[in-house]
Amino acid sequence: MLGMAPRLLAWMQRPSASSQVFHIRRSVGQVRGGYGVTERARSQNDRLHRQVVTENTVSRHAALFLDSVSGSRSVRVITYGTGILFFLVIVFVPPVFGILLGWPKILEMLSYPDLMTRAGSAIAASFAIAVPVSLLDLAAGLPLAWFIVRSKSAWVSTIDTLANIPFIVPTVALGYSVLTFWGSDQGLGGLLGPQFILSPGWQMIVLLHFAFSYPVIVRVMVGALQGYKEVYEIAARTLGASAFTAVRTVSLPLLKPSLIAAFLLAFARSLSETGATIMVAGTFENGPVFIRNARVAGLESPLIFVSFVLIVTSSLFFIAVRFLAPRMGLPISKVIPGLETQLSSKHSVRLRNLLTFLAFILVVITPSLFVVLPGVDAVADGTLQSMVSGSGIWATYWQAVGLSYLIALVATGLNMMMGLPVSILIARARGGKLIAGILDTLVNIPIVVPSIALGVSIAVFWADITYIPEFWLLVFAHSSITYTYFVRSMIAGVESIPSEVEDVARTLGARPLAVFRRLTLPLSKYALLAGAIMAFTRSVDETGATLAVAKKLTTAPVLMVDWVRGTIPASASAIGLGLALLVLTSFVSLLVLTVASRRM
């Protein structure tokens, strides 16, 4: 996952209308010296002008025809209907309900008590890791997000970019990075001594999950803080509350929805991540690791059973937190003025910042970057040449990489085409608030379910209905997993456009398609691009579902897991190089997005 404009990631809770695109409401006189059209603006305007003028007649007539057709009710029903159909048939039903078709296998499990116990502890382990890690992430990430949004220091943009790094690094690379940093003598152990070297197991899993969920928290909270009206906090301070008290009693309660959303996102990621977890798990088992072991051992029923339980428990957990947590109060009634003033003092603030940065650097950044080292070695010992020439293990590597990108491209393309109507339907509540509301909640579900369980469910579903080639099964699975990223981004983008803009356009004579073409799309360009890139990178990164579905095909991350676990022998530098390429492509995508966003 990449670091995006913050507002795009606040997705389990409606983001407030962004003020980035619309700075029109400015009372008279506040524009200082901006009355002249700058050169850049002028050339931009000229470009747009030329675009308008050089529309040729054929495309114009085609556009006008489509526009007028779009007004008809039946056309609209078909467009939205297809989108909803795709969502239900591909993205929602198979992953969530498909597992039920394997009911016999689930019942079969009940006759293997030993396996049941093992399965049970694996599932419990998943939760036992996910919940504390997410809470810790929240506690550690919130101060950093606060710093990024409120501080006037020159370091802010650097920290902001750094906070994205665990996003840029694909989880498989992160897994290997954590493995080497915490678990080998080249990492932290080498500096501090052999007793500090960790062996693969639950401690490493915790460190890993902490690292990759951290940027999620930071991004969501940065977005929430940017949308948060500071005036409430200021009002509290003018009433005599110290900074700490004001934040505790006024801001945090108001930010509760975002805090919950951030927590749930971090939780879902921890529960779901497979590839990197397998790398650092050793003999420990959490849910996804257990499923993978079952798959490797060829056992069907434990596989399906655990998937089933994971789907049910994660969905229930999600619903419970979503609906109960908002009602939970935060400790806000008692105020201890003396203590809280101390906590607000400059010294306390500095100490807090210090601790935050320490945790950030030590636990998040350094491990993430560790993947660079082996890659550097690789250049030295000639592995690079073999990689380029495609010899030996590299042949399968390039095949896997190619497959990964192909799947990602197709899945993202499908999601974009089919997800766009659904996004608009939700954002503008077309077809009624009830339908929009239901879809809004349903659209979140594929992320909640651990991807490997999702993959199993999809495989079971389609196996029962009809034969689907493995490639397409993978596309469906990846579609399902990345759909939510795209759609949530699009919804945020569309929602940030005040609906009055579209109202005005309609009264000026523009039909629905014209409104979409001329207004909605250009104004949500960034959200579209960001959503697509998020979906694409997520798909390239995806391990769990691929493991569940694929019997013959291998994608790049799956291959990397095999290399690291030793199932397929590969030298350390080969691993480093292989992962480095994946990191590079993620990096390139982020660059594309940053550049594109500057020009919009």
Partner: protein, 361 residues
């Protein structure tokens, strides 16, 4: 409790110095972007000034954070805490000071009654009307027992008719409690009607300070004449200068102005308020030959507003109180205008031109 401010050096505020007396209700007015809100925020500690000092009473608060300045602040956005009930909002100040619960509750209900707020304990801000919400915000600020009340466009978000009533409530409460208040607004009528003194700002500087009557009847600056109430502006040249009055020549017509201090040949601008411009029919004998044609004639309710295009090309606005039988003038009718002599205020013609000097935005 005097409030004194030293010099300030931000782009928004250019060396502003102001002294406010104890228990005074002053308003700072000016067009958008003149720096009035910035000034208030610096006073409150919400914004940090680049240079200068702020004293509240005898205390130097220049570097203190807002919570230590003992102020009450009212925001244009009202900013009642949405997750707390109205009563809890009002009780926030006492609560964060660590006051005893029971004592605080009594205090809160006293304040709410004083503000004449009829709301139940379980009412939340989103259930209240705009005016009730702002009153609650006022009660909340008062409950924090401030020395100084700062009001930042407190009525800006409210309906016109609510503004008209609430402004007097603001003054009443402030005066009843013996507080000092600084009220920022762009609505000059609002400011005039409730302030002891007015401060007029433009482009980061203070233009003029005085009581409403002083500033309205004899504004010393052209900008004040235009910003506070409406005015007609007549450029001309001094033809005769005697002690006690001057005669100004305007495009061939003459105007006798009962003021002195201008030399012959000097370019001047005469400001005259619309209520000092009287209409007589064209045949009526008058001592002024200013005639023109009616271009607009509207009943505003309490006044009748007439726009006249004079024969020398200038446009005049006349606004007469409606005493029950307003004279009806038709568009196109020829009229003669007469000025109340005490309403003619001469100024030196501004160096950068009349439009720039009078600019409201």
């Amino acid at each position: 409790m005097n409030v004194r401010k030293g010099f300030r050096d931000i782009v928004a505020l250019d060396n502003v110095s102001l002294e406010v007396k104890d228990r005074e209700y002053i308003s700072i007015i000016g067009p958008s972007g003149c720096g009035k809100s910035t000034l208030l925020k610096c006073l409150a500690g919400i914004m940090k000034q680049d240079s200068g000092r702020i004293l509240i009473g005898d205390r130097e608060v220049t570097d203190l954070p807002p919570e230590q300045r003992h102020l009450g602040y009212m925001f244009q956005e009202i900013a009642l805490f949405p997750q707390m009930s109205a009563w809890e909002n009002v009780g926030y100040g006492p609560r964060v000071r660590g006051e005893d619960r029971k004592h605080a509750r009594q205090f809160v209900s006293q304040i709410i009654e004083m503000a004449r707020l009829n709301i139940g304990r379980g009412t939340y801000p989103d259930e209240l009307s705009g005016g009730a919400r702002q009153k609650t915000a006022l009660a909340r600020a008062i409950a924090a027992e401030p020395q100084l009340m700062l009001l930042d466009e407190p009525l800006g978000a409210l309906d016109a008719n609510v503004r008209l009533v609430l402004r007097y409530e603001l003054r009443r409460l402030v005066k009843e409690l013996g507080l000092t208040a600084i009220h920022v607004t762009h609505d000059q009528e609002e400011a005039m009607s409730i302030s002891d003194r007015l401060v007029i700002m433009k482009a980061g500087r203070i233009v003029e300070v005085g009581t409403p009557l002083e500033l309205y009847l004899s504004p010393k600056q052209l900008f004040t004449a235009n910003f506070l109430g409406e005015a007609n502006f007549i450029p001309g040249t001094v033809e005769e200068s005697n002690s006690g009055h001057i005669v100004v020549s305007v495009n061939g017509w003459k105007l006798s102005v009962p003021r002195s201090g201008f030399a012959r040949g000097e370019r001047v601008v005469i400001a005259v308020r619309p209520e000092m411009v009287f209409l007589a029919s064209a045949e009526h004998e008058g001592n002024i030959e200013w005639t023109g044609v009616v271009t607009e004639h509207v009943l505003l309710g309490d006044c009748v507003r007439t726009e006249i295009e004079l024969e020398n090309g200038a446009r005049m606005v006349s606004q007469m109180p409606n005493r029950g039988t307003p004279p009806v003038k038709n568009v196109g009718e020829r009229v003669r205008i007469d000025f109340a002599p005490e309403g003619l205020i001469p100024y030196q013609f501004p160096a950068q031109g009349l439009d720039v000097e009078l600019a409201l935005e």
